[in-house]
Amino acid sequence: MLATIVPTSTWYLILGAVLFGIGMVGVLIRRNPLIMFMSIELMLNAVNLTFVALSTQLTDINGQTAVFFVLVVAAAEVVVGLGIIVAIMRRRSEISVDDLSVLKG
């Protein structure tokens, strides 16, 4: 009986929503900028999953093209973000976003 149940796109959309929520918790509660970046990646992946699920559901390839561009932008974002973290860590040894309050001048 279980074999006859086929996951519909609604299941994928709900999984994407839950994954986005977990990533959101990560960004909000963690203080390590590296972990916050990883949580942002989780949120981006939730969006990608939603795009692909809707692309399949609506039989439209443009959803998958959007995922392609999201991947490229995510790669660029991580490269620049990690460059900034390296530049900050060269001056401070402890890694916490709370330390960046010195930027407020």
């Binding site: 929520g21 399949t56 561009f69 490269v79 990690l82």
Partner: protein
């Protein structure tokens, strides 16, 4: 069978995501992220987006996570941090309530709107029809015709990102002089 694949991939995705958020050691968090990314790749395959599944593994698991691990090792922050102390006591409950509310909103929207998801696009040729390269060919046609301007702008974005990172991560001459004087 499809159900079994979905359940396994969903378990991978959720376990990895919770690992990223809850593990105190950044290296463990990065490895949990790999688990999530592979789970997403499996879901892409089961949704007949084979090209994106391959790109997902190569770009995310192969490049982005390795970059994360490089930075973790380079900065020497590969030790567990203390997650018990929280300077702002109300932050965690607030964050969790906010996220649960947001997810509930999204799920309600999805469940309410699932019946309206039946408008058809141009049609998606999948591998089931016997044409095994159909997915790649369709994405290529979409990127290089409809989105060719965005594709070219993307290359500019990547060059800007590379140059920006080199500028950011480079040791400046004045810093070098200063460290030489203090040493």
């Amino acid at each position: 069978m499809e159900l079994f694949v979905f359940i396994c991939a969903a378990a991978m995705v959720l376990a990895g995501a919770l690992g990223v958020v809850l593990r105190s050691n950044p290296v463990h968090a990065a490895l949990s992220l790999v688990l999530t990314l592979f789970g997403i790749a499996v879901m892409f395959v089961s949704q007949q987006a084979e090209f994106l599944a391959a790109v997902q593994v190569v770009v995310y698991a192969g490049a982005i996570v390795v970059l994360f691990l490089f930075v973790i090792m380079l900065l020497g922050v590969d030790r567990a941090e203390n997650l018990e102390t929280e300077p702002l006591g109300i932050q965690r409950p607030l964050a969790i309530i906010l996220s649960i509310g947001f997810v509930a909103l999204l799920v309600t929207t999805i469940v309410q709107g699932r019946d309206s998801l039946n408008m058809r696009g141009d049609g998606l040729i999948t591998a089931d029809s016997g044409d095994h390269d159909a997915n790649i060919r369709q994405i290529a046609r979409s990127i290089f015709s409809d989105y060719v301007v965005a594709f070219e702008v993307t290359s500019v974005l990547l060059i800007v990102a590379v140059v920006g990172t080199v500028v950011l991560a480079r040791k400046r001459k004045s810093e070098k002089d200063l460290s030489g004087v203090s040493a």
